[in-house]
Amino acid sequence: MVYSDKAAKWVLSFPLLLFWVVMVVFPAGYAIYLSLHDVSMGQGMSSFSGFGNYLEILRDADFWHSIGFTLEFALITTVLELVFGFLLALLFNRSFPGKRPLLSMVLLPIMVAPSLMGIMFRLILNENNGVATYFLSLLHIQVNLFDPDLVVPLMIVLDIMQWVPFTFLIIYSGLQGVDPGLYEAASVDGASYWRTVLQIILPVIAPIFFIAAFLRGIDAFRTFDVIYVLTNGGPGNVTKTASIYIYEAAFKSGQIGQAASASVIVAVFLLLLIPFFVKRLSK
């Protein structure tokens, strides 16, 4: 039996389509369905509530606070991770002794599960038995990194420590693909190293930058594990991300309908960013 090209395309893409429907379309559709109903933990669906859950969430100051913090966190971490990742990629884009083992070490943090990272730093920074606090005390430095004024920068630093290797890896692969002739041509023209990097190399790898920014931005916006393990969103709600807000609404308060509506709002918000990146990438 001979299939037409069109039929063959459908047959071949069917498994992927099925996977996409089961893993993406159905959960998303079900989340929207739940968000329109009054659903609470253990009691199941009680009634259709229209946009009641959405109004409830949009009126909740805590939700907006969590969105504000998440935006701030995602923006700062993404920018800094791109900058540090780029600088690290420039460093590794040259030959130097010990480059390979050093490269493995640089990539190590992304191998660690984020929740484990949280637990590690919970131990490292503990005043009673923490390694970091012990060495700081030897230097007579007493600092409480979990102070309400310092806890946000601490969370940002931890995120940077874990995810700079990720942006580095993407940008480094982009740099590896740059035609060496460009460097030579710039050198012949007498351009300095930084001028070459900023005015010639950077525009060439700009799409790679956008990919790294997109992936890290979305991921940073969904941050949950490290912060949940270390501070549980506190003190107060200082470090409460949108993901922690949704998790608590669903599984601690048992308000499944409200949690679903918060998820839909966050998803819509993130979807609005996609055209921007698609436009940049398709240029």
């Binding site: 919970r122 005043e127 009673n128 003190p235 107060g236 200082v238 599984f251 308060s253």
Partner: protein
């Protein structure tokens, strides 16, 4: 030849699948009832009970094994524990409850979540005898005058303190004199040191200051106490002791929130005085049970309000070499109220094997079953069992005594856990001095009112 080979492989695979199917059928029948329960060929009913992994399920497994090989044979019941992940047990149960699943016959539950589980559980009054249990533990699993689960493991708080340091404080005149100076500085009144059993909250603060190097550079400990201030519902349970033992509660007798009461302000004031006065580690903002243990084990703190289960570890020379044998127990200062909550098991409203599950539950309420549970490392809320193990584990009779004499349970309503979440968020900022106490309590009052009105 190739076609023949393909047909042979296909036939072999088909036979394998068919035989595997037969095998699994056979397994489930010998397992008495199959995965979803029901009666097996031998007339034995299978009861499946959800538990979370950890010391509680380790102890419970011993009871299950004893039952399955003994009384269970007479009852015609075989019990199987379904262990979910410790962190995700309630979430997975919630999914099963929401779908009115009959996949398991008994749910694992706890006082602080029983309100949310209530619609999926059968009332047990008249079906299971709970007379032998400590009353506050049974009460902590009752809602709307119905017993919704039987308590298996009880938790409460103590004031755990360094006996050696307090003994010196009570006998050394130089220390006594310094204590008076410090209390004058911190509280504006000169206090005499007292036995922790008689402490008021002022004594608690004065002792916390005396054992802090901030006020007493010669203190053998860096901080007097260790507060658990992370934004966490279990830390609200600890703070509740300060509230209840100051004469307060979340709700008044008519069920209205009273988080703006004088008692609540006093309880908040104690936390804030201690944290801002550097009588606890600045790290306390992210502290929970393990950090408090570390503070005591390292010798950095002289005393703390801590969970009863911590006592054994602190007095174990292998795990706490610096302080083992020096830790003693006193009631919570003030009115001595101690938070009590129980972990327990309830009957799934949609269970297939209710009759068999009730036979097992009735076995669980016997002294024999709970003795096995206690021997396995659990803390059953039965005074007779706890008192009988005093020689082996000195803290168990103390738990029995304190739970009975001073135990209270937070209001058992559907909103118990959501209220705790709100309190953790609203109050933890003020504990750390980030928010004003009055404003934090007003926000808590308003949030709890709103939660109750939903």
């Amino acid at each position: 030849m190739k076609g023949l080979l393909t047909r042979c492989v296909t036939l072999a695979l088909s036979l394998t699948v068919i035989l595997a199917g037969c095998g699994s059928k056979q397994d489930s029948s010998t397992n008495a009832g199959g995965a979803s329960g029901g009666s097996g060929q031998s007339g034995t009913s299978k009861v499946s009970m959800v538990y979370w992994p950890g010391p509680e399920s380790d102890a419970m497994q011993k009871v299950v094994d004893a039952y399955n090989s003994g009384q269970g044979k007479t009852d015609g019941v075989n019990v199987e524990m379904v262990l979910l992940s410790r962190d995700g047990t309630y979430e997975k149960e919630a999914a099963m409850m929401s779908s009115k699943s009959d996949e398991v016959d008994m749910y694992f539950t706890a006082s602080y979540i029983i309100g949310q589980h209530a619609p999926s559980l059968d009332a047990l009054d008249g079906k299971v005898n709970t007379d032998g249990y400590l009353k506050s533990s049974v009460d902590s699993l009752r809602m709307n005058n119905e017993t919704l689960a039987i308590p298996m493991d009880v938790s409460n708080h103590f004031l755990l303190y360094r006996q050696d340091l307090i003994d010196k404080l009570l006998s050394d005149s130089a220390w006594k004199s310094k204590y008076g100076e410090v209390s004058q500085k911190v509280l504006g009144q000169t206090l005499e040191p007292k036995d922790p059993k008689d402490w008021t909250w002022d004594d608690f603060i004065a002792a916390a200051a005396f054992f802090s190097q901030e006020y007493n550079p010669d203190s053998p400990t860096k901080y007097g106490t260790a507060l658990q201030m992370k934004n966490l519902i279990f830390n609200v349970m600890i703070w509740d002791d300060f509230l209840w033992s100051s004469g307060g509660s979340w709700l008044d007798e008519s069920g209205k929130p009273q988080l703006n009461s004088d008692a609540a302000k006093k309880a908040m004031g104690i936390y804030s005085t201690i944290y801002n006065g550097k009588m606890t580690s600045p790290n306390s903002t992210v502290a929970e049970y393990p950090e408090t243990q570390a503070a005591l084990q390292s010798g950095n703190a002289a005393f703390a309000v801590q969970w009863g289960a911590a006592y054994d570890e602190l007095n174990d020379p292998a795990r706490s070499p610096n302080i083992a044998g020096k830790i003693a127990v006193a009631p919570i200062p003030g009115e001595h109220k101690t938070h009590v909550h129980a972990l327990g098991v309830g009957l799934n409203k949609y269970a297939k094997n209710k009759e068999a599950a009730l036979k097992w539950m009735n076995y669980l309420t016997t002294k024999d079953a709970m003795q096995i549970y206690a021997d396995g490392g659990g803390i059953p809320p039965i005074a007779e069992v706890l008192n009988g193990l005093g020689e082996k584990k000195p803290v168990l009779p103390l738990i029995a005594e304190h739970v009975d004499k001073y135990g209270y349970s937070t209001p058992i309503i559907a909103e118990t856990q959501p209220i705790m979440l709100k309190l953790a968020e609203d109050l933890s900022g003020a504990w750390a001095g980030k928010d004003d106490i009055g404003k934090a309590l007003e926000k808590a009052q308003s949030d709890v009112s709103e939660t109750l009105s939903k």
